[in-house]
Amino acid sequence: MQTKKLSPLQWVLMLMALTVTLFPVFWILMTAIKPPTDWNASPAIWVPSEPTFVNFKTLFDPEAIREYGVGGVSQSATKAVFGSVLASVTATFLSVLIGLFSAIGISRYGDGNKATPLIILSGRMFPPAAIAVPFVIIFSNIGLTDSYVGLIAIYVAVTLPFSTWMLKSFVDDLPREIEEAAMIDGLSRMRAHLTVTIPLIKGGLFATTMFIFILNWSEFMFALVLSYTNVSTIPVQLAKYVTATAGTLYGVQAALAVLAMVPLVIVGYLIQGHLARGMTFGAIKQ
């Protein structure tokens, strides 16, 4: 198509959009490095005159947190960070592993059931609050409430549709003649998949893993209703700060928010070419 140059007016529009896009990010970064006196100043201070990393230190120092401690927040964020890493990494690994097998199965042999995609999609439509209810009941009966095992099981199940359909779209891209050639060379069906198919979709496998990690790391509601004292994740901890203190911990919360978003933004940039594919269950490829 014709590729005209951007006109000056369009540049102005573009820069306005860019400002709106980046301003909230700028704000959270600035709040994270504000000293306590600047947190909730009126009028708000945009750029702190004395930037400091004290908020990040406070976050991991139980004593310091307790000093600010209003209401229930006397917990340092160490456990939440540990919990988030443990739950997201494990769940991502399992989800991608199981999803990979399903993807090859569905792509190469069909799943024999045309309603399956719809069933999976309706699983996504169901309000998570409602899936959480039976989980709370079932888990309390088998002792999985407030445990990482329970949380990871849910994360795997919830992200499985995404990993399966995203990986299926990568396997679909691969001509099946490659596997057939390997089978003619004497490999069994299963070995052909393991040693030929999987190495050939390495890039897709990486993108999917990162995408599923983003989903797991961002998950909030299940962690909120299934964690009490043993289990915590960063989003839950962040919400706790808001509840307990009505915002008196601005800077510390912002520091935790920054810690939570930095890995995701990096991962997101790495796989930006595949984000559309992930979000649309592989319906749109780039």
Binding site: T3, P43, A44, P117, K168, M190, Y269, Q272
Partner: protein
């Protein structure tokens, strides 16, 4: 580019399954096709069955009882038929308002996200310096956790926060808006947050759609004397229709479940004036312990959204199937 994975397994896959590729004589007699297929898909099906289907069935059963955790075991609870459902639809104005509010937020968000996303995507069809850096920059919001987005905008909309500072610069010094104490303003704040967060998705999907529009029909239209405006609305947009609908469906599914951002911004307040369906169900189940009633509300929502999505997909169902061929 567009696969029919939203509808059914692709015709291509289906046709090949009917005539399985048989490795000529030399192939080793390893596991048969059916066995391999079963082994491959079993773990996924097992997980979905145990962790999604089973709880859904429990919730479905529960929605027909009057169970609450204070009344002992679920299986001793009294069976009340459709009482929860009729209560919700006829008497529970809070639920009805939550549904209407969620729909209002969905419509507002979808139209704004679409407009901004399309505008930006069209700008990105032009030639300019720093395109790849700007592309990444514009995608940033959708990579941030919903909870963090909620927290950021909660800070921005404080009465002494930067949004009010900017408003005062434009509208004069007396415009101190209390965003979270006034119902329409609070809903506006939720919509602004959601639009900021997810416009990048529309931008991304529409840009990839625009990039894959074939050149020939466009050239033909230009040669036949169509103005750029006509080319865009009469030639390019119709070709984008499936992409646009996929984007709308995916976003609609997510907005209907809107929870994290609202939880961080307003907790449904003031009063219950920003409660979305998810937030209402959450409060029913985990603040008021009306679990059975909450489950009924969830199933009504599921049925409603299935119907809605079915209707949204209807105009492009055939087109999506064609695209897979």
């Amino acid at each position: 580019m567009l696969k029919d994975s939203l509808n059914a397994s692709s015709p291509e896959t289906a046709s090949v399954t009917q005539t399985p590729p048989k490795a000529p004589g030399t192939g080793r007699p390893g596991a048969g096709e059916k066995t391999v297929a079963r082994i491959l898909t079993m773990p996924g099906q097992l997980v979905s069955l145990l962790v999604l289907v089973a709880p859904l069935l429990v919730a479905l059963y529960m929605s027909f009882t009057d169970w609450s955790p204070t009344r002992g075991s679920l299986f001793e609870a009294e069976f009340v038929g459709f009482e929860n459902y009729s209560e919700l639809l006829i008497w529970d104005t809070r639920f009805v308002y939550a549904v209407l509010r969620t729909l209002l937020i969905s419509i507002a968000c979808l139209s704004l996200e679409f407009t901004f996303g399309l505008g930006l995507a069209v700008l990105f069809m032009r030639r300019f310096r720093g395109k790849s850096v700007l592309f990444s920059a514009f995608l940033t919001p959708m990579m941030i956790l919903p909870v963090v987005v909620g927290y950021i905008f909660w800070m921005l909309f404080q009465s002494s926060g930067p949004v009010n500072q900017i408003m005062e610069c434009i509208l004069g010094p007396d415009v101190a808006l209390e965003w979270f104490k006034n119902a329409p303003l609070a809903v506006t704040a939720v919509i602004v947050t959601e639009v900021w967060h997810w416009t990048p998705l529309f931008f991304l999907i529409l840009l990839s759609g625009l990039n894959s529009v074939p050149e020939n029909p466009v050239r033909a239209a230009v040669i036949l004397g169509a103005s750029p405006r006509q080319v865009f609305w009469r030639v390019i947009m119709p070709m984008l229709k499936p992409v646009i609908i996929v984007a709308f469906v995916i976003r609609a599914m997510e907005i209907i479940k809107l929870f994290d951002e609202v939880f961080m911004l307003t907790r449904g307040g003031p009063g219950s004036s920003t409660e979305t369906i998810s937030l209402y169900i959450y409060k029913l189940a985990f603040n008021d312990f009306q679990l059975a009633y909450g489950a009924a509300a969830a199933f009504l929502t599921l049925i409603g959204s299935l119907v809605l999505i079915h209707l949204m997909l209807a105009p492009v169902r055939n087109q999506l199937l064609e695209a897979g061929r």
